[in-house]
């Protein structure tokens, strides 16, 4: 019941967006279906005349069908970029098999005696096709189109990953934010659309074989009309933004940014987090969201726009430890403290770049960094029976590099053994591992500690005002109080949300901060 109320509240709040996404969803489905009918039906008819080719063609279409949709989109992006074109193309390919196969089977299912009689009476091949074969194959053919339509409504949710819009924007935003209401807000209309398409085509099918002309005309008229919805004039502006679904959905993402900077006149598309950097790099979009220490910033020559009004909460990296560890081995405190404030945003970006793009080993990157800072010493020989320090990390390169640095420091400056537990997945897993004592330390971010783990009332968050010191102080105090865990000193960098632009474009437009961007857009 609560979910239902929340769902209606969400729809009410996002009515404009819901309408737009629904129209886009219908448009994508109808456009791809139309193309698939225009290609698939003639191809099916051709196959019915040349059954020798049927196994090859149907097999080919079948292989297309088995390619996972997300992988198919992945193949199409390098060829077609992002936006409606690759989405419609992928949907078109999915719709082909049921349409070709059912056309082929439908025509082959027409009793040979009927066709022979029709030819024997003096119908031309065209007349046999139009007056006999197509009307009799129509129920099977339409069943194929219905199947394709329902498949496409489902797959069209993935269009949100390539900036083509549709109800997937809500769904993927909801998945990323772990927000069931938001998922339902997109999934329910999508399910409704699938039923509506099925019913509509079912209606066309029931026009019966006697009204082939009407059925065909209805179909070929309705589909372009529906597809046309996609072409409705959309907001355009000086710059185009591409955002990940999570950024669009969460309060401290785009909504907060819009409120604080008055960021208007920035039309945006939604696309997969993995694709935003590519999209900016290839100039499909101009402004993207990202993480301020992502290696791709370096790789693609992007510029991080300064968050001069602190719209994004601070996400300073800080090692979180079990106090028992420090009590048992007090010498660790100074060992760990050697990295305090040592790693700036640009240094971390560089290190991430080397891990993610140059595919260097995190261990080697860590060692090299320590050597540069004069912190590197050879590890001491292992002493049997010494206690083990267990270091944990989430699964991405930045965390791997950080714990390799700590591991190297501990091994070279104490007799303690070190065990690294990488790949603990998401925040919650690391946090629970630390609480239960499965690990002794992992690097956490102040913003994550605040918003994901502590989840204080909004008033508290507002009172902190996004000031880094205040946030750190709050999480440190609360972690001590609630969980008995200790936040040490920050490493120096702030891996937070950031708006990014291509370096040359940002320089040319004189945009260095989010305020500059907002000002430029309002000019």
């Amino acid at each position: 019941m609560e979910t239902l109320t929340a769902l209606f509240a969400f729809w009410h709040e996002q009515a404009g967006k819901l309408g737009e996404q629904t129209v886009q969803h219908i448009g994508l489905t109808a456009a791809s279906l139309l193309l698939a009918v225009l290609v698939g039906v003639p191809l099916g008819l051709w196959l019915a005349r040349r059954p020798r080719w049927a196994p090859a063609v149907l097999g080919g279409a079948g292989v297309l069908q088995t390619v996972p949709s997300i992988a198919l989109l992945g193949f199409l992006i390098p060829l077609l970029g992002i936006g409606a074109v690759p989405a419609i193309c992928a949907l078109f390919l999915y719709a082909l098999l049921p349409i070709i196969r059912n056309t082929y089977e439908g025509i082959r299912g027409v009793p040979p005696a009927v066709v022979e009689a029709a030819r024997g009476l003096g119908m031309t091949n065209g007349q046999v096709l139009r007056q006999v074969e197509l009307p009799l194959a129509l129920p099977v053919l339409m069943a194929g189109i219905r199947t394709a339509a329902v498949i496409n409504v489902g797959v069209a949710t993935l269009a949100a990953y390539v900036a083509a819009g549709g109800l997937g924007e809500f769904i993927f935003g909801g998945i990323n934010l772990n927000n069931p209401v938001m998922i339902l807000a997109g999934a329910l209309p999508a399910a409704g659309l699938a039923l509506a398409f099925d019913a509509l085509l079912g209606g066309v099918q029931k026009l019966s074989a006697r009204r082939l002309r009407q059925a065909g005309a209805a179909l070929l008229l309705a589909l372009p009309l529906l597809a046309g919805g996609y072409l409705l004039p959309r907001a355009t502006g000086k710059l185009m933004a591409g955002f990940s679904p999570e950024f669009v959905g969460r309060a401290d993402g785009l909504p907060g940014l819009t409120k604080i900077y008055g960021l208007t006149h920035l039309p945006s598309v939604v696309l997969a987090p993995a694709l935003v950097y590519e999209a900016a790099h290839n100039a499909h979009v101009d402004v993207i969201d990202g993480y301020s220490t992502d290696g791709r910033i370096r790789a693609y020559g992007l510029r991080v726009l300064r968050d001069d009004r602190r719209a994004f909460p601070p996400y300073y990296a800080v090692p979180v430890v079990r106090p028992a560890l420090l009590r048992a081995h007090p010498e660790l405190r100074t060992v760990l403290a050697q990295l305090d404030g040592q790693i700036s945003d640009s240094v971390m970006t560089e290190l991430n770049y080397r891990a993610d793009y140059l595919h260097e080993d995190p261990k080697a990157i860590a060692a090299q960094f320590l050597k540069q800072r004069g912190l590197w010493r050879a590890p001491r020989p292992a002493v049997a029976g010494e206690p083990v320090v267990r270091l944990g990390s989430k699964i991405f390169a930045e965390q791997y590099i950080l714990i390799e640095m700590y591991a190297a420091l501990i091994r070279s400056q104490t007799d303690l053994a070190v065990e690294t537990k990488t790949g603990l997945g998401a925040t919650n897993i690391c946090f629970e591992a630390l609480r239960s004592g499965a690990i002794d330390l992992y690097p956490e971010y102040t913003g994550t500690g605040l918003l994901v783990l502590l989840q204080p009332r909004p008033a508290v968050v507002d009172s902190l005002g996004g000031r880094p010191a205040a946030v750190l102080n709050y999480v440190r105090t609360e972690f001590r109080r609630r969980y008995g865990l200790e936040w040490l000193a920050p490493l120096g960098f702030n891996n937070t949300y950031a708006l990014l632009m291509r370096g040359p474009q940002a320089r040319a437009l004189g945009i260095a901060s989010v305020s500059d961007l907002s000002g430029y857009l309002r000019q």
């Binding site: 009793p111 005696a113 009927v114 009689a117 024997g120 009476l121 003096g122 119908m123 007349q127």
Partner: protein
């Protein structure tokens, strides 16, 4: 090769200026499917109003031969002329619209009503809707399918026999001078079949048509044919009237082909005229077959007979058979 010689002689006869030109002239027609020769060097001519039955065992090439007449199958060699004109000189569709076509599976268009099915060819020919409707009604009435009840029905609502009658009506709708039929009664049960065959024989519409009919049923062939073309393995075994095939078989194949039903065929072929001298006949119809006369005498059918008993009839029949036998031996 006596059959070919016969055909050749017939061909010569037909070219005598006085006799009407043949409606259908088939010359040296050949067809191969792969290495298999299905039709080999078949020739015949048909005059207006004649009914030719293509008879033979399964796979003898009779259906292929029929389909070459309306170009559903294109021959590998030889020619087909309709009214003196090679069929390849006009589009196949135009050719077919001028010929009725009836097949064993009927092949009614399942999404068309009975009336629409019958109207297919006139519609293709661009006849006026009112004329088509009138013609459809007339045909349905003549085939004992009251239009008020049947015109609006779909084919699947009809029995097999009714469907075949609609198929026949469809073939006759545009009043084509030629009708091709491929086992038209083959799918029907024996009783329905006999009934429809009788209707068919008595149908005024068909009397004036030139008909080519394919069957493997010997009794059917004898009942309907003016002449029979007996085929085996794609070759003509004999072309002639039922009586010629029965009493003057051209070879052993022809003789053995009719062996099982010889007596029944003889009873149906010989008429009172053949077995009796005129004084026996009196007011009896001389064209009544011996079989029919027997049925009347034994009370299974109603009709007028001459003043003779079953014994006299059978004796005369036996004598007539002997005469035919002697004539053939000479």
């Amino acid at each position: 090769m006596t059959d070919v010689a016969l055909v050749f002689r017939l061909g010569l006869l037909c070219r005598v200026p006085a006799s009407p030109p043949p409606v259908i002239r088939v010359s040296h027609l050949r067809k191969h499917f792969g290495a298999h020769a299905v039709v080999q060097d078949v020739s015949f001519e048909l005059a207006v109003g004649e009914t030719l039955v293509l008879l033979g065992p399964s796979g003898c090439g009779k259906t292929t031969l029929l389909k070459m007449l309306n170009r559903l199958i294109e021959p590998d060699g030889g020619s087909v002329e309709i009214n003196g004109r090679d069929v390849r000189q006009q589009p196949a569709e135009t050719l077919r619209r001028g010929m009725g076509y009836v097949i064993q599976q009927v092949g009614l268009l399942p999404h068309y009503t009975v009336a629409e099915n019958i109207g297919v060819v006139p519609r293709l020919l661009g006849h006026a809707p009112a004329a088509i409707a009138a013609r459809t009604e007339a045909l349905l009435t003549r085939l004992h399918l009251p239009p008020a009840r049947y015109a609006g029905q779909l084919p699947q609502q009809l029995s097999g026999g009714q469907q075949q009658r609609v198929g026949l009506a469809r073939a006759l709708a545009a009043d084509p001078p030629i009708v091709l039929m491929d086992e038209p009664f083959g799918a029907l049960d024996p009783i329905t079949r006999a009934g429809i065959r009788r209707e068919f024989r008595e149908l005024e519409e068909l009397r004036s048509k030139t008909v080519v009919l394919v069957t493997h049923d010997v009794a059917e062939a004898f009942e309907l044919a003016d002449r029979i073309l007996l085929l085996n393995a794609g070759r003509v075994q004999q072309l002639g009237t039922p009586r010629e095939l029965l009493f003057r078989p051209a070879n052993d194949f022809v003789r053995y082909f009719f062996a099982a039903e010889r007596l029944a065929l003889q009873l149906r072929t010989l008429t009172l005229d053949d077995v009796f001298d005129n004084e026996f006949l009196h007011d009896a119809n001389p064209h009544t077959t011996v079989h029919e006369a027997l049925e009347t005498l034994t009370g299974t059918a109603v009709g007028t007979t001459g003043r003779f008993s079953v014994a006299q009839l059978m004796a005369a029949f036996g004598a007539a058979l002997q005469r035919e036998e002697d004539a053939w031996k000479r």
